[in-house]
Point group: C2
């Protein structure tokens, strides 16, 4: 299953030919690369060290195919093995680091977010939209044992999170509706809004007011507010949020006391982005 | 240059044959994968959005080869393009996340590190060894504008960092000497120890005392102390550190006031690892 097929001629010829914008899903090269990445993703908290058979099972490859890819990853330093068990190496972080450090807000946002966390004593995160999910790209935790632990790279559904609704509000209406339709809108709590039209109305409100608040729709007890980070052309490129526990601070109190500071922090990051890129 | 060659038969046949432990560097499959990863790494803070030619230049590929890989990455959702400029998408973080979440200390260490940062008001990080470098895997910043900003996935040389020396002290002597010999031991400050024998002596001292302190050898004004995280079998799997500014707190005062707390935090994480895995 992992044998490389002879490439179809048009896939390797030409430079910026008209087909350049068209990816070629049937390409053996694409398949090989996809399988390599599937092997990487087969490792997790539940399966940090795996045998060849386990990798093959989780990545849905034959043992021969899985073995070939594991040896490839081992050659490249992304996997190590004691001969029987395979595990990932930290070299894999180079790839995510290439992405994170290419984000324009990477260096700018963190000091501002740290200052905000110092003021409000709640965690602050930044996320971007990816399909129907938000993906965390920066995190400044507060020093409370109870704080919500979501590492960089964590995903949450966009439709029921404050940063998700903030980011969805910046999409063209059609694209926003497509994301809502494509989302797995399973109710997370008794407060979760799952109806597409109702969500669209809430997102329209977010667009008008310039911030979002989600009260226990993702998780009971969890309240979160988000504000947009915009680049010099006014495009929303990310959102930042703060979240707290409803039993410590109600949504209403959070909005009154913390929202102005959140908006000021988002504005400060956006202004610096404008200056940096002009 | 990026065409997939017909695979050599022995590379795809057999399961756990004796050759299983031997990666096959000449494999076209390995080369293809390596090129894909080189394209990912060509993106950075300096080049977040690149043309085809820029990617080809930075990844040392032909334009045709670079184009094919970019289309592959685009098909798989790791790259997006407006037709002219290419950029990475946050999907790339899934790969690093697979690694980070597979670390046994991932969930355990953070609350302990947060508590430590709350006590000492200095940043705390965790890192692992990778070749001659340490790689940051967890970070709890303090809320000071001056704090040192090193994201997860950042690399620093092991020989001149407190976590590096801690991790090197856990290697067999031969392996430790090999890392020192292979390191680019350029002096970073006037305090940097670069002589291999002198470094080996310092690392032996670290091994004996069970902690390390590096005083302005990486950067002027920066003092850092590290302690080991060990698994249930007593193997060092990571190090945690705290660092501060010499002009705020001298190395001597840091050692007196903060070292006991750092050691207690490392011990707490290590104990939890022992319980978790037994």
């Amino acid at each position: 299953m992992a044998t490389a097929r002879t490439p179809i001629p048009h896939e390797t010829s030409g430079l910026a030919a008209p087909s350049a914008a068209q990816p070629v899903p049937g390409d053996s090269y694409v398949q090989s690369f996809a399988r390599g990445l599937a092997v990487i993703r087969s490792f997790s908290a539940q399966s940090p060290r795996q045998t060849l058979s386990e990798v093959a099972g989780r990545a849905q490859l034959t043992r021969a195919g899985a073995r070939r890819i594991l040896l490839t990853l081992q050659t490249l330093g992304y996997v190590k093995s004691d001969g029987k068990l395979f595990e990932l190496t930290p070299r894999i972080l180079d790839l995510g680091f290439a992405y994170l450090s290419s984000l324009p807000l990477w260096n700018l946002a963190e000091p501002v977010m740290q200052e905000l966390v110092g003021q409000i004593k709640e965690s602050c995160s930044a996320a971007v939209l990816n399909g129907t999910d938000i993906v965390y790209v920066l995190r400044v935790p507060t020093h409370k044992i109870m704080s919500i632990s979501l590492g960089v790279g964590s995903r949450l559904p966009a439709y029921c999170t404050s940063m998700g609704r903030m980011l969805l509000s910046a999409l063209p209406p059609d694209a926003m509706m497509n994301v809502l339709q494509a989302s797995d809108r399973t109710a997370r709590t008794c407060f979760t809004v799952t109806d597409v039209d109702e969500l669209a109305a809430k997102i329209a409100q977010v667009r008008n007011q310039g911030w979002s608040l989600v009260d226990q729709e993702l998780e009971e007890g969890l309240v979160s507010m988000a504000a947009p980070i915009t680049d010099r052309s006014g495009h929303t490129i990310a959102a930042i949020n703060i979240s707290g526990q409803a039993n410590r601070t109600s949504a209403k109190v959070m909005q009154e006391t913390m929202l102005p500071r959140l908006l000021a922090a988002a504005q400060s990051i956006s202004s610096q982005l404008t200056i940096q890129r002009s």
